[in-house]
Symmetry: C2
Subunit: 425 residues, 2 copies
């Protein structure tokens, strides 16, 4: 075959590693007769009969094939991500010391990244020590750890209505009683919030205060002030999930900053703006809470997040190109938001608010049409929508739908919506 | 300064990214007066007064500085790991498509790695579909997910006595009643096992059947057969944590294989033999269980494990050099085991069994000396030991200590032990 012996040796090694051939000592290699299962093997997909619930949206979006359109999903198209900086960071990791490549992370995760985060918090006016930052496997895992530390089955948690659908899935996994507070264009309805805190005595309030998911709205300073006062009077802890932070050019005031981490636990991640493949989240909180969270993370994950992951993130964040990348993303987003609002309005779909940042639009369908039905019908067009009620504890968002302006570039989405909305299909 | 403008621009960008300087539009860069917290900043260490419990060992080992010796820790020295193959895999990742670099993993994790695992299982005689493999963030997270799916607070779980200390920490996080079954050189004491299953009705039995942690012993075929019969008669599920699998040249029969995943859930990871920084674990189980586990993983982590992580693992496993690396490790281990046994015996410390593989030795101290006291005293010599009772539900292993033969290369360990054992210090 004109190939060099070392090429052949390598080919044999690979075939042996795959189990297609097996060595017999002193005799050579033999075909095992066992082939690998086919690569294109389809996984059992989410049952079609399954209820349209938060899991339905997550599983459909995460497992769909690349030809499926996902105008409601929760992430940027991959070509918007800082891939060049990521490639550079991976090449750099390949040259790092063995400890980075193959040892467990420390219980809190790499000091380098925690140090960077505390410097960033200091810019916002929140002065804490890197000891008060715990790195976790992801933002979701961060919220999960907090729930495990602070909640017991049957406890009550307050969320916004609507809220990020996976908050509900997560809280249900903890067998938590979920109460929704109606969300307004300036944050949770503060009268309702105060009433619920008084009567239902929730243990936690879980929210995105800035660039709220799914609406893209912001808590106003007045609402923030009253929220914090109510929480502190009632001894209620607030979990502020701030994963969209980097989508703001000038950071708006955060609950965590106003409160100085007294009653607020701040959660973040890099999945939305840096990479969802290089996953890592963080929690900043009071020291006593961090200490309990460390034990829990050790018990349930052993070491902190992978050193290779946190190094790649630090490299990208500290590399200098990240800020420019984010400025570009923000410009890009503004343009896409305008375009998509216009196209949706042509179909009679109106944004509930026009967000100041981020990629979400919370659109109201015309004539009280039902978004769950539209999501189901859109599957035939290979389009996965995010219908309103998966975000709503009270199931009162049937006429809403979450759109991700960056994932609405294909005209097919609007054609399909038009056909379905006008009853043509 | 003779530097090129682009170098200076990059320096400014980095300083801005670190928050040391800040740009003002149309005016230039200004020093913020905020310095990063010092890099060498010590984290609040584990309180000295803290009880010597499973968390003590984990936190001490994970967070100790590199000059501290860890003769009892649960991993290989970093220079034993396949670092060259890891470097090559990271360089390859840097050239991969954007989807790998920045998108979420699918709910089950990459098909490439699941396909490789099913081929490996098939070699052992366990024929399952890649659908029956769920990739997780780590082996520990795999066990945690299973506990979350199958257990409720107050349920009973059976573990070996002694067993891997973090099993206890994990089960306590679930507020589970833990019962220990005495471990013998041929697996759990089968009479005691049958009695406990009958009277205590445990919901799960969590074990390492091969290269048991901490003893290095193996379940005999007779014990395995009786274990499975008892479990199947009682409807008891067994979680077989098989993270040391790759330390065997010829795989011994696994419970999962004998049982065909009917009553056994198999858990594994790559942390012990490939990298603990590139973390990933897996669960293979019945399809109905996998489906419940997927929902739980979505709720608590959202996407499956990072695509970059699973690609690196696949590259190393399929690269062909991994098998040779493991053969070398096994030879290396055999030599180290002999040396360490000899050195320990000189101090009157006897191995409870001589393991057939892996890196653990379960050593009995002379004259009924107390290993917790020795561990505490060794801290002054900057040595962290793993005292017996952190592994023992019944607290009956005070005269034992777990040694990791690969982490006992420094003579200081034996000098220190000799001094402490003979009362010289």
């Amino acid at each position: 075959m004109q190939a060099s012996p070392s090429t052949i040796v390598q080919a044999y090694d690979r075939l042996a590693a795959e189990g297609v051939i097996a060595p017999r000592q002193g005799s050579g290699f033999y075909v095992t007769g066992r082939a690998l299962p086919p690569l294109a093997l389809a996984d059992a997909t989410t049952p079609a009969a399954r209820a349209i619930d938060p899991f339905w949206v997550s599983r459909q979006s995460l497992d769909s094939d690349p030809t499926v359109l996902k105008p409601g999903c929760g992430w940027l198209p991959t070509e918007w991500m800082p891939n060049a900086a990521l490639r550079k960071a991976f090449r750099a990791v390949a040259r790092r010391e063995n400890v980075i490549l193959s040892e467990y992370g420390s219980t809190r995760g790499a000091i380098r990244l925690r140090r960077f985060l505390t410097a960033q918090f200091a810019e916002e006016g929140l002065e804490i020590s890197p000891d008060q930052v715990l790195l976790t496997g992801s933002g979701t895992q961060a919220v999960d750890l907090i729930c495990r530390l602070l909640l017991r089955r049957g406890d009550t948690v307050l969320v916004d209505d609507p809220c990020y659908f996976n908050f509900q899935a997560l809280l249900r996994a903890h067998e938590i009683r979920i109460i929704g507070v109606p969300y307004t264009a300036t944050g949770p309805d503060i009268e309702a919030f105060e009433r619920i805190v008084l009567h239902e005595k929730p243990h936690l309030y879980l929210t995105n205060s800035v660039l709220h998911n799914p609406t893209g709205a912001m808590v106003s300073p007045q609402t923030a002030f009253r929220l914090l006062n109510t929480a502190s009077a009632a001894g209620l802890l607030i979990v502020e999930d701030d994963i969209f932070a980097d989508f703001e050019t000038i950071p708006s005031p955060r609950l965590a900053v106003m409160d100085g981490l007294d009653h607020v636990i701040r959660v973040g991640s890099f999945s939305k703006t840096l990479s969802a493949s290089v996953r890592c989240g963080y929690i900043s909180a009071r020291k006593d809470l961090i200490d309990g969270l460390i034990d829990l993370q050790v018990a349930t994950s052993f070491g902190g997040p992978s050193p290779v992951i946190t190094e790649v993130i630090s490299d990208v964040l500290e590399g200098g190109s990240y800020r420019k990348h984010m400025l570009e993303i923000q410009r890009h987003l503004e343009k896409s938001r305008k375009t998509v609002i216009h196209k949706l309005e042509m179909l009679g779909i109106c944004p509930w608010v026009v967000p100041k940042g981020g990629f979400y639009l919370w659109g109201r369908l015309p004539d009280g049409q039902d978004s769950t039905q539209i999501a189901l019908r859109s599957l035939d067009d290979k389009i996965i929508h995010a219908p309103g009620n998966v975000f709503s504890v009270s199931q009162s968002a049937s006429s809403f739908m979450r759109f991700n302006v960056t994932q609405c570039m294909d005209e097919k989405i609007f054609h399909s919506l038009e056909n379905i909305l006008t009853g043509r299909r």
